[in-house]
Amino acid sequence: MISSSSNILPHFHSDHSLLWGLRFLALIAGSLLLLIVMFLLQESWPAFQHVGLRSFFTDEGWHPSEDLYLLTPMLWGTLWASLGSIMLAAPLGIGSAVFIQYYAPSFLAKPYRRLIELLAGIPSVVFGLWGLVVLVPLIARWQPPGPSLLAGILILFLMILPTITLVVQASLAQIPVSVIHHATALGLSRWSMIRSVILPTAKAGIFTGLFLGVARALGETMAILMVCGNVVQSPSHLFDPIRTLTANIALEVAYALGTHRSTLFVSGLLLMAMIVVFVVMAEGFRHREANAHTK
């Protein structure tokens, strides 16, 4: 920014058109979120009118042809799969980040990081394909049928691990070297330093990574679709097949009509609300970390 806000009146004609052109484009970008919410609401409205919010939690089951729209089995499936995956991915993700930053010799740290970056870019269908062909039969041998909550948890864990690792590692790398020098001069050993000084200092970055990971796990569709079995039931056991909210939408929206279609939009809205909460919290932590470093 070169000019003060009072001086923003441009003297050139081209500047005038540029400003308005840019404002228009920015408006399009900024209104996307609003548009999405509006369209989702519009499409869900018939369901709210005819079915009512309470039915989604109290109907007898998910049978659209009989006008029964119970969402709770899918909700449980989503929540359990995401919870399981974050419980695995949090320690291992933070451990990987610590490994890259403090344990790995330099010739290993860079390739390991590249491997994680590579995996962050692998499409979910490819994870799903691998899960379908390798993981599910493996689980089936242990305990049939194979497609299960466990498969979902493991696949999600592999998918959110790179996100957590990379965000936490970036945060660790930003810790000023003076903190390390001070802690070393006090006679702290590597693990003591990591446990008592470094991880607390990087707290904001760690939470950013974890919340982004949860948001990703909640929203994952394709891989879950391919390995979870898609049976509408609340999971009572790790080996039960489940259907998540996302898989539910993906499977049925192509042929759903009328109220059925609306209810799928409602579940989309519900999903979006859950995820937005986590994303907003993650961004909040990200800003807190950025402010801490500019002090």
Partner: protein
């Protein structure tokens, strides 16, 4: 030169702790410059990757004295200081050769217990870095990691140390508040307290006042002078007036033909009044550097 006297409230705190074995009671002012070598560097050289930062340093630091390392910036003073507690291990590509003896401990030996060494040697850096915890926790951390003092004694030790650095009145009501809210001068005193709470034998100070305003500088200087006799203090400074005010011994570092070396060392009085080397004379008179 005046020696610091322990104040009445310090004596009181001392009485509280006299039952605890490992806490060193304050000695009343002692003559400092006993010519007993505490640290001995023989033919010490430090290199980074492929260039030599410091060459052939032979220096003896006496117990209980304040030794100032002076010279223009970039002449290897900080490198020498960092080799004393093996902080040079953290710098990639840094190699230290020669002999470095601290009492009976061979500092440079690969088998030396570095954690033990760094608890004997405290270090203060140019820019104070407090940990992002409460004021109290900043001091509890070294105590907890050291593991030698029972938890019940911590509060008293923390109070004594804060009083020693003159910070107690300013922080006693806000021990649980974040340390990062303190001013620059207060943070540097906190760093000093953090280093002192482990009762080190040696204190290394790398230009501790250069990032502070003049008033805080003065307070820190007085504090350092008050440590004479109880700790062996080595301070790096490029402020000659400060060295003149504080030091018992002075060592001048200089870059000769691109290689940093120790030019002259001696008691402060002899170095400032009758320097032997022409570079020393030129530096002191302000003609060079």
């Amino acid at each position: 030169m005046d020696h610091a006297q322990p104040t009445p409230h310090l004596r009181e705190a001392e009485k509280q702790l006299s039952g605890i074995q490992s806490w060193r009671p304050y000695q009343s002012a002692q003559p400092c410059c006993e010519p007993i070598a505490h640290i001995r560097a023989e033919d010490l050289s430090i290199g980074y990757h492929d260039h030599l930062a410091l060459q052939h340093v032979n220096l003896q630091i006496n117990k209980g004295c304040i030794t100032a390392l002076v010279g223009p910036s970039g002449c290897g003073k900080t490198s020498f200081l960092m080799s004393l507690n093996r902080l040079t291990d953290l710098i990639p590509g840094c190699r230290v050769s020669g002999r470095l003896q601290m009492n009976e401990l061979d500092v440079l030996a690969p088998t030396t217990d570095l954690l033990h060494l760094r608890r004997q040697v405290g270090m203060i850096f140019q820019k104070p870095t407090v940990f992002p915890f409460s004021i109290k926790k900043n001091l509890e951390l070294p105590l907890r990691e050291h593991g030698k003092h029972p938890r019940e004694t911590w509060a008293a030790m923390i109070e004594t140390t804060f009083q020693q650095v003159g910070l107690w009145d300013e922080v006693k009501d806000r021990l649980s508040q974040p340390a990062q809210a303190l001013s620059g001068g207060q943070q540097q005193r906190l760093c000093l307290a953090r280093a002192l709470i482990l009762s080190p034998q040696v204190l290394l100070l790398d230009e501790p006042c250069s990032a502070l305003d003049p008033i805080s500088s003065g307070i820190i200087e007085d504090l350092i002078v008050s440590l004479r006799g109880r700790y062996t203090v080595i301070i790096v400074t490029h402020n000659l007036a400060q060295a003149r005010r504080m030091a018992d011994h002075v060592a001048l570092f200089w870059s000769v033909d691109g290689i940093n070396q120790l030019i002259e060392t001696g008691s402060a009085q002899s170095l400032f009044e009758s320097p032997q080397h022409e570079l020393t004379a030129a530096y002191i008179s302000g003609a060079r550097g």
